[in-house]
């Protein structure tokens, strides 16, 4: 056996693996018999949209399914069958030979123990010794994953660290016993782009150093393209296609794979004519959040979420507002619509709306609407879709009869590409993309002029994202709408907007026409942001 073929020998082989869950509403087959191999030292990406079973496959192998889940089939690690293995033998593999990091760094660590203790616990359990003896090793690991000042941080609690740092701690824990395989389940989805890039780079460096295989579970094809050597594409519990990364991206065999690759937002938005009048404007916008100290504590501190921002939206324009979490972009959107207390001068068309209170704003609400990020949270679960989308009519056209409202609901649903029969159903019966269409219908039924779109596609799968973007563009063209498009996703912003505003810590870092910003960013932060985003293009 030559060195090369030995290297090709898989260390983890999965054959005909099935995962199912018993629920009160019947059995759900999450994984329907899949085969895959992990070879030593390689990076294998398992790609799929939500509900494809990519996470459940790994949970099934690791014996981590919820109590109502069962796994059948075979998964052998170096000849050792893992499915149905008794917990003691399984525990010798988990955490030592195969380790995992998870999507939610906020909740994956025990909040009640210092991080050093949690890492040491894993070392002590698999290698023996004492917590004290493991301390130097823990410090070494913390240094390795780039935690500054490890001697001090080793006794910190998880809540004292940022999301990116916690994910580093998780990685330190995963490396503690020098595993053969590291399973990374959406390791960067909950993190900002710049942090995402750092974490992925760290993983790649450590992989080389420890010569371990990484199984990267993700929905993000950009990451796959840049990091993985081989790709497994999953859909609805089945493997659709697998192969080497380059080949798969250039000549995808399965229609689904092709569709996924093409779902990358494309197209450009032309700027409105220069003389287009301003429809919505906020000058010197300042928003302070008060951090309340309770009844007895007098000292309430304030946090400046938006700091002296000026933004003018012209008719037919789409302004993309880009920034990471905490940059104040969502707050700015709400301040522009006068939904939160803020300072600054605002106008809508030619009307000065700076001094208007809630009641004064009410008649204008129909002309300026808001669409939210989370299509699950933004629809009241106890109302029918019909009630949800006609709610604005109660306020702004109370004279309408029931039949007329129903007619308007049907029109609005058709407009966003939904079956009008949907109006008698409840939100929980719809998929994420359909719900976002409902939310758009609710805003559009009032025939607004300006719409603030707050991350309208971030919670959606790539393929659905594309459709929602199409819909939004379509509506804009048909009704001459103006959008403020808030997003952290540069590729979507690039496809949607003709003008871009980059925000950081409540201030505008840079602004300008989309093409100029993307081709020649001036500010260092914009450059970092663009550099950190992974595109499908190699």
């Amino acid at each position: 056996m030559t060195e090369e073929t030995k290297a090709m020998e898989p260390i983890l082989s999965v054959r005909d693996l099935k995962v199912s869950f018993t629920t009160p509403d019947g059995d759900v087959n999450a994984v329907k018999g899949i085969d895959l191999d992990v070879r030593p030292g390689e990076t294998l990406a398992v790609v799929g949209e939500s509900g494809s079973g990519k996470s459940q496959t790994m949970m099934g192998i690791m014996g981590l399914l919820a109590a109502n889940g069962t796994v059948t089939g075979s998964a052998t690690y170096r000849g050792q069958e893992m499915v149905g293995l008794d917990p003691k033998a399984l525990n010798a593999i988990r955490g030592a030979k195969i380790t995992m990091i998870f999507q939610e760094p906020m909740t994956s660590l025990d909040p009640l123990y210092p991080i050093g203790k949690q890492i040491a616990e894993v070392i002590v359990h698999h290698r023996g010794g004492t917590q004290k003896a493991a301390r130097p090793r823990v410090l070494e690991l913390l240094k390795l994953v780039g935690i500054p000042d490890p001697e001090r941080r080793i006794d910190s609690y998880p809540h004292e660290m940022s999301g990116g740092q916690r994910q580093r701690i998780m990685i330190a824990m995963a490396l503690a016993n020098e595993p053969d395989i590291l399973i990374a389940d959406e390791p960067t989805t909950a993190l900002d782009v710049t942090i995402q890039a750092q974490i992925l780079k760290l993983l790649r460096d450590l992989q080389k150093r420890f010569d371990m295989a990484i199984v990267l579970i993700t929905h993000d094809l950009g990451i796959v393209r840049h990091f993985a050597e081989r790709v497994v594409v999953m859909r609805r519990g089945e493997v659709v296609e697998q192969g080497a990364t380059g080949e798969l991206f250039e000549t995808p065999k399965a229609d689904y794979t092709r569709m996924l690759i093409e779902a990358e937002p494309s197209g450009r938005k032309a700027a409105p004519p220069d003389n287009a009048p301003i429809i919505l404007e906020g000058r010197n916008v300042v928003v302070d959040y008060r951090i309340d100290g309770g009844l007895l504590k007098k000292r309430a501190s304030t946090f400046r979420a938006v700091d002296d921002v000026t933004i003018s939206l012209h008719e037919g324009q789409t302004i993309g507002v880009v920034g990471e979490s905490g940059s104040g972009k969502s707050t700015l959107g709400r301040a522009l619509l006068r939904l939160i207390a803020s300072e600054g001068a605002y106008r809508f068309g030619r009307t000065d709306i700076s001094g208007l209170d809630r009641a004064g704003m009410r008649p204008l609400r129909r002309s300026m609407q808001l669409v939210f990020q989370d299509p699950y949270g933004s629809l009241s679960p106890r109302q029918t879709v019909g009630e949800i989308i006609t709610e604005g009519l109660y306020v702004h056209e109370p004279q309408l009869s029931r039949a007329e409202r129903d007619k308007r609901a049907i029109e609005a649903l058709k407009e966003v590409g939904l079956d009008p029969a949907a109006r008698n159903r409840y939100p929980h019966e719809f998929s994420g993309g359909q719900r976002q269409r409902i939310a758009i219908a609710r805003a559009m039924i009032l025939k607004p002029q300006a719409v603030v779109l707050d991350e309208p596609t971030s919670a959606l799968d790539r393929s659905v994202q594309g459709q929602v973007i199409e819909l939004l563009r379509d509506l804009q063209a048909r009704y001459g709408l103006s959008y403020v498009f808030i997003s952290h996703d540069l590729s979507v912003v690039r496809a949607m907007s003709d003008y871009v505003v980059v925000m950081k810590d409540g201030r505008i870092v840079e602004e300008g026409p989309t093409d100029a910003i993307f081709s020649a960013p001036r500010a260092a932060y914009t450059r970092t942001l663009i550099g950190a985003a992974y595109n499908i293009a190699p």
Binding site: R365, E391, Y394, A421, R425, Q467
Partner: protein, 376 residues
Amino acid sequence: MTDAAVSPSPAAEVKGRSLFQLALLRFRRNRPAMAGSVMLVLIACFSFLGPFVISHSYDQVFSSYVTTPPNLEPRPGADALEEATKRVAARARVELQSFSVEGETFTAVVTARDPIDPRAARYFDRANEFDKTEVAASEDDGRKLTLTGVVDREYFLFGTDTNGRDLMARVMLGGQISIAVGLLASLVSLGIGVVYGAISGYMGGRIDNVMMRFVEILYSLPFVFLVVVLVVFFGRSFVLIFIVIGAVEWLDMARIVRGQTLSLKRREFIGAAEALGLTDWQIIRRHVIPNTIGPVVIFITVIVPKVILLESFLSFLGLGVQAPLTSWGSLIAEGANNMQSAPWLLVFPAIFFVVTLFSLNFVGDGLRDAFDPKDR
């Protein structure tokens, strides 16, 4: 993978299932909860419809049957009848010569030294055992009378209490009062609690602070003290008792609704409603209150048994509804006092009381599971 324009399931079913309907479906599949519901319905029927079926009223005193143990046979039995007749004869100052029973009728022959007033028959009627007594024959110049009449047989399936009242009728009445107090007091606490909690939570800021401070102070007042003082203060009428209990119990409800409202306020659909231009009151009415219903319904199943317990606790202390009205709590207190001589007085009301509370608990658990499916 087109996700537009497709209805989620075959178009035949146009009407969607609301979350509430789904919860109901899940609830129906939960056996202990369904069994609990059936038990509750049975007990409610027993308490509210029972009095129309049995012939005794709750305040009817059978002086002949004081502290009778429960029995499936009708009272009086053959030997007891003989005894009873002798007692009647003694009271009427006549001598009993012979006594016989045939089916529902009895024949008694009584003698005396002097002629007997035919009105002696009334002595028989006065006893609970006999009815429609009349003089059938008179011999010896009225010194010997043959009396016939109907034996009035009574069923005391649960026995009687120390005053000779039918315990079954008492338990039914107790059930009516306990259930009524439980429901009405819960409604009072629900009304106050939901409005107070929703306003406090939705308004937030200083208003919320002050409102919750007030609740805190009420909390630190010993709860029993409040009830006792209020009951002593307002008197012991039935209506006031449930108002008092409701007025004390709303604190928990207000806290729960406030917490719920606070978390709802962060939900985006409230933000969407604001963006549509709804007023505060419209938002509370259309979005906040409907969405607190789940936890509130569950909490009611917690509060109803709590209120029933509290009412019986008051009754146990002698502060509950006044005699001859009664509740399960007062009956249990009475039973506890006569535990050694008449254990059934404790056993029957305790069984009904415990089964009711037990069923309510299962129903509550079932509702919780039904409204919160992730719990399974």
